[in-house]
């Protein structure tokens, strides 16, 4: 039915049928186009938001099942942009794009530590949304730290995707237990040079290099610790066979024996391959490390409503819509990348996952992973460490 409607619209817009336009009309059209362009992005943004919800997001919410479902139930389409990094999108809002976007989905620290204090997002109705937290995994019990403002009085978003992200090994070569015991020292071992890759998720690389250097990534660093970070970063980068921003080539390299593992990886990067039967790709969270005795890092995504002066009327409905069981499952399996969601404590959500899907994101040891991780946070001295990181990449031996 929709296809038929679309075809009719296309026929109506057939440019050949309207080809009798005069030269004056054409010039008028060009002039109007130039004016529209000159009016800038804000003009385009408002015109767009008049019909569709506008969302800055990670990839979990752009699955057609999620987007089409919202259009079907709430009668509004969704326009989106996928981030390259959390700060990238926060800076867009800081630069005045709060007038364009309605929803923003970021990792846990940004809402409470930056966006709320800077007035970039609005609070949610606790009476409406906290019952959803009650029904989530125990770690999300309200008031859940990362969803609340620093003073604990305002609810800033809803949580969904959650997991850990550290490193990946080929268990045909390195056993999972050995990797867990050795932790980051596995990559500090000179014997591993030339046998691993790096997934270039730059901000994660910074955190993981801190862990490998024996430094808590989320605490202020002394000059000695920065020097240790530099030594570790250069050594790990020089020892890497390949550094790439796409996990598919790295998974292929592991499977084909180019490398035995890679730094900065997790169920997010291997679940689709594991679902295809490559269960020797294994996400490892170290048993111990320098961050309060822990060596792993876990992330939680938080969706918030932007402080848009002309907020889309369905923005709050979106926040509630994504927490429904069907949508939770779609978010957990979006785009073929499978990761746990906080709603998996609910039997009707859990029932939607097959045994293979649960195994793809190593659900059997989810509690172990969370227990051995510190929660993702903003890295103090990030700029200084990042400059060291990019210099090491440029000067890679």
């Amino acid at each position: 039915m929709n296809e038929e409607k679309l075809l009719k619209q296309m026929v109506k817009r057939n440019p050949v049928r309207g080809a009798a336009a005069t030269r004056r009309q054409v010039l008028q059209g060009i002039g109007a186009g130039a004016l529209a362009l000159g009016a800038g992005g804000a003009f385009a943004g408002r015109a767009q938001a008049a019909d569709n919800l506008a969302m800055l997001t990670w990839d979990g919410y752009v699955d057609p099942r999620v987007l089409d479902g919202f259009t079907d139930t709430h009668g509004a389409g969704v326009d989106y942009e996928i981030h390259t990094s959390d700060p990238d999108s926060v800076n867009k809002l800081r630069a005045g794009q709060t007038e364009i976007w309605d929803i923003i989905n970021l990792n846990n620290p940004w809402a409470r530590e930056y966006m709320w204090p800077e007035g970039l997002i609005v609070e949610l109705d606790r009476a409406r949304f906290e019952p959803y937290f009650d029904a989530m995994l125990p770690m999300f019990k309200p008031p859940y730290k990362w969803a609340m403002s620093l003073d604990g009085n305002h609810l800033l978003g809803v949580c969904q995707r959650v997991d850990t992200f550290d490193f990946v090994v080929n268990t045909d070569v390195i056993s999972a237990e050995t990797a867990k015991d050795e932790g980051w020292d596995l990559f500090n071992n000179p014997d591993m040079a030339g046998r691993y890759g790096i997934l270039a998720y730059d901000n994660w690389n910074i955190m993981h290099f801190c862990m490998a250097a024996g430094i808590h990534p989320f605490q202020d660093k002394t000059d000695e610790q920065v020097a240790a970070f530099e030594e570790t970063a250069r050594r790990l980068i020089n020892g890497a066979v390949a550094i790439t921003g796409d996990f598919v080539p790295l998974n292929l390299a592991v499977v084909n024996g180019e490398i035995d593992g890679y730094i900065s990886g997790g169920t997010y990067s291997i679940s689709s391959a594991r679902l295809e039967g490559l269960s020797n790709l294994y996400h490892v969270v170290p048993r111990s490390g320098p961050a309060d005795g822990k060596g792993g890092i876990n992330w939680i995504e938080l969706s918030s409503v932007v402080n848009n002066p002309d907020l889309h009327p369905k923005a709050m409905d979106w926040m509630e819509y994504i927490l429904q069981p069907d949508v939770s499952y779609a978010v957990a399996t979006a785009g073929g990348i499978l990761v746990p969601v906080g709603q998996m404590s609910q039997p009707d959500v859990m029932a939607k996952f097959s045994a293979e899907e649960l195994d793809s994101f190593q659900w059997d040891e989810f509690d172990y992973r969370i227990e051995h991780c510190v929660e993702y946070d903003v890295v103090p001295d990030y700029n200084r460490l990042y400059d060291i990181y990019t210099t090491a990449l440029r000067e890679k031996a």
Binding site: A34, D88, D202, V241, P249, Y386
Partner: protein
């Protein structure tokens, strides 16, 4: 008889500069070009001006109206960015040189020898352009990867030969760049060679020129505009290449586009990213101007 010398010559009023400018602005050519000029200014000049402006703002700021500083440029010259510049320009130069060597015989065949087969051959060369560059490079990745890769796996299965790793080396990046940019060198070269009149070649042969002399003194000078345009186009595109180094090179070959990407994304240092971009544009621009000085566009376009 009147003394003509006494009659003052009436002064011819010279139009002022503003009057001339107004007249020029009202000319049909300028009026017709105005819509395109507006698009050009908004879509091309505008972003470049913004990038230039950002390159003089303090590091990690997002406000164009801030303090003026040359700190970003100082940072580039005092840090090791020269490594990326050298790699990018060297790879681009090598890509152009290899593509000229590979492309010339193909272009010669297409313009002089293939006859009715020229169109199908051209089609074969054009079809890959319809596929995304990333997809094509990923195809190379699967082809070259060790172990189960198409080349390595095939050689091992058929002949027991272990190729070792073929990926993540500068040579692989160069190979990929040659592959990706060959059409951009080739097609202008075909155009250039098709401008060589057969009569002139035959005349020079009749006058006793050797095949090499015909190539050097007849074909090459006439085809030179097409060759230079192809080389220029390829060079400019190749300087900005990034996917080849990221995917097939495993970032073992640092390129300048990667530095720019780092600064605009994870570093959120737009001013430094802008300064690197401006320097890249300036260096490329200087090289392009040097080449353009040797290029006679009037002759290329057949106006002379």
């Amino acid at each position: 008889m009147a003394d003509r010398t006494q009659v003052p010559t009436p002064a011819i009023r010279q139009p002022g500069i503003l009057w001339l400018l107004l007249g020029w602005l009202r000319s049909p050519g300028v009026l017709s070009a105005t819509p395109v000029l507006v698009f050009f200014v908004i879509g091309f000049v505008g972003p470049l001006v913004i990038v230039l402006g950002f390159s003089f703002t303090p590091p990690r700021t997002f406000d164009l109206g801030g303090t003026f500083t040359t700190e970003n440029y100082k940072h580039i010259f005092t840090e090791s960015y020269y490594i990326s510049f050298i790699w990018s320009f060297a790879l681009a130069g090598l890509t152009v040189a290899c593509n000229l060597l590979i492309g010339y015989p193909i272009a010669y065949g297409l313009s002089k020898l293939f006859g009715r087969w020229a169109a199908p051959v051209m089609l074969v060369l054009v079809i890959p352009l319809f596929v995304s560059e990333n997809v094509r490079l990923f195809g190379w990745y699967i082809f070259l990867i060790k172990g189960g890769g198409i080349l390595a796996g095939g050689l091992k299965t058929a002949f027991g030969i272990d190729t070792g790793t073929l990926l993540f080396q500068p040579g692989t990046v160069l190979m990929a760049m040659i592959y990706v940019y060959l059409p951009f060198t080739l097609f202008p070269m075909v155009l250039g060679l098709s401008m060589v009149p057969r009569d002139q070649v035959e005349a020079s042969r009749d006058l006793g020129a050797s095949r090499f002399q015909i190539f050097r003194e007849v074909e090459l000078p006439i085809a030179m505009p097409g060759i230079l345009i192809g080389a220029l186009l390829t060079f400019v595109l190749a300087v900005g290449a990034i996917s080849e180094a990221k995917l097939l090179g495993g970032q073992n070959t640092p390129v300048i586009a990667l530095d720019i990407q780092h600064e605009f994304t994870f570093a959120q240092n737009w001013p430094l990213g802008s300064a690197i971009s401006v320097l890249t544009i300036v260096v490329t621009g200087i090289l392009v101007v040097l080449v353009m000085r040797r290029l006679d566009l009037d002759r290329l376009l057949g106006r002379r």
